[in-house]
């Protein structure tokens, strides 16, 4: 346990004593390089709004802008305009300072703006995959958190695959169409009687205790694919 009044200093075993020799040129060079790299990374991740007209118009962002405009005594349009201006200016400064070195770090897939559950969505979805034969109702093959319908869960549940099917706040991820193609191809191969495959998300918004659930189910990101089968003679 660390004493609270006069704790012993935690120093490295060879931390130089007061009469330590002057650091070598190499030490200066290394410190300079590390400081530069840290500075470039800081510039890349420094807090700033990243807003443009298109992103500000998306429902989740528009909702936030509306709420904040009210708090700040501005109109949503004024706030949007100001945010876009700050965003553009921030980008310009960042580009001027850290742009060239970040080309290298960017190619290594680096990022210093960490958004971990940043929005914590009030809008939640539950993805499901279903198939049907001609004249028959839809049959679930896979449904998130449904132990009865676990078709290909081994692959679908993997975090990197989920990154493709789990939608953003307002729209599906760019690879969603390809994901549906892959699901349809695999499901059609696994279920010979399937003629059509559907991937869709059902709204299951979280609600505080006591708040009634929505009576009408709402669906989003619905995609259909037909199974490409050889014509039977």
């Amino acid at each position: 346990m660390e004493p609270s009044a006069e704790p012993p200093a935690e120093t490295a075993p060879t931390t130089p004593a007061p009469a330590a020799p002057a650091p070598s040129r190499w030490a200066h060079l290394r410190a300079g390089t590390i400081a530069l790299v840290v500075f470039v990374h800081f510039c890349q991740g420094a807090p700033r709004p990243r807003v443009n007209a298109a992103s500000a118009a998306k429902p989740a962002a528009a909702e936030q802008i509306h709420a904040w405009a009210g708090r700040l005594g501005m109109t949503p349009e004024e706030l949007t305009e100001r945010l876009i201006m700050i965003s553009d200016e921030g980008d310009r400064v960042r580009q001027a300072i850290a742009g060239p070195p970040w080309k290298i770090f960017g190619r290594l897939g680096f990022e210093q703006r960490w958004a971990l559950f940043s929005g914590s969505r009030k809008r939640a979805w539950r993805m499901s995959i279903a198939w049907r034969a001609p004249g028959r109702p839809w049959t679930f093959a896979y449904r998130v958190r449904d132990p009865e319908h676990r078709w290909n869960a081994r692959q679908l549940d993997y975090r990197r695959i989920r990154g493709v099917w789990n939608p953003g706040p307002d729209e599906p991820r760019p690879g969603y169409g390809l994901f549906v193609d892959w699901v349809a191809r695999t499901l059609c191969a696994d279920v010979p009687e399937a003629r059509e495959v559907r991937v869709r998300h059902t709204r299951v918004d979280p609600r505080p205790p006591g708040e009634p659930a929505s009576a009408q189910p709402e669906y989003g990101f619905v995609e259909y694919r037909r199974c490409a089968r050889e014509a039977t003679p």
């Binding site: 060879t14 200066h28 807090p47 998130v144 692959q155 892959w182």
Partner: protein, 318 residues
Amino acid sequence: MKRRWLALVRLLDEREAATSLACVRLLVGACVVVDGLHILLRGVAPVLWGSPEDGGLSPLMADDPPWLAAAVGPEGILALYLLGGASLFLGLVPRAGALVLLLASADISRLLAHGDRGIDVMIRLIALILVFSRSGATLSLDAKLRTGRFRRATLIPAWPRLLILLQLLWCYFSAGHNKSGDSWYPWGRLEAVWNVLHDPHFSAIDVGQSVVVYHLSQLLTLGTVLFEWTAPLMLVALYDARNPEGAGRFRRALRRLRFRWVWMATGMTFHLGLAATLWIGIFPYAMLALYPSLVPPERLEAWFPWLGAPRATRAAPA
């Protein structure tokens, strides 16, 4: 200014026992190996990184694949990813292993951008630091092959551990100031944790509609934001631990609160809680893998003597 620059140069010129950094290397390597084995056993490599013509999800693989991925294909990229992780875990040529991991993971991030999560970015950043470090000096096969012992009392540059520490604290602070949703704050009724626990795509447990759990989740939301926003104070607390003399009122207050240990314990509880309640893959474990960087090696060896070098092999103090 010159005095501060000299202090920085001296700080980055310090040497310390390799134990803390070796623990980070070993634990990050273990997380990568586990993740790689998940990919292998689930057979998702060709799906994730194959071209659409081959049944995969990566248009880039067909149009303009990164050079390494083009050379070795999806299974080859997975093999390199696993190789890099195993090299770090075992401490066998870990610098080369970190480089292989970095390059393979960078290609993976380009092949399927939305499959690449925050923790993958973190692992790449740590891999780059490990490329330039002597993390294999102890608790490694390298040490065993060179000296006949897994644990060695050797001093290595301290700056890679300090950079990992800085990266970890920045990650939390950045996550804090990027929390834009109202639900993280009192004006959004602090419902963020409640919302996440009710998101079927992430939640691993069914918490129902309990009022008690709802209020507890509000406390956890507040705790998460406070934990993330106070990450920079760890720098002050760590500075104070090294330089206890001349502390002002603020530093003394942090010391009285045992801020450093309380903050670390909160972080560990936070990640263990995430692991128990959410379905988020290796994220909590890989973040916890970085925590040894927050503890100076001599302190870590005092807590876990079996991590340090055997007494007989320690060099006599100068």
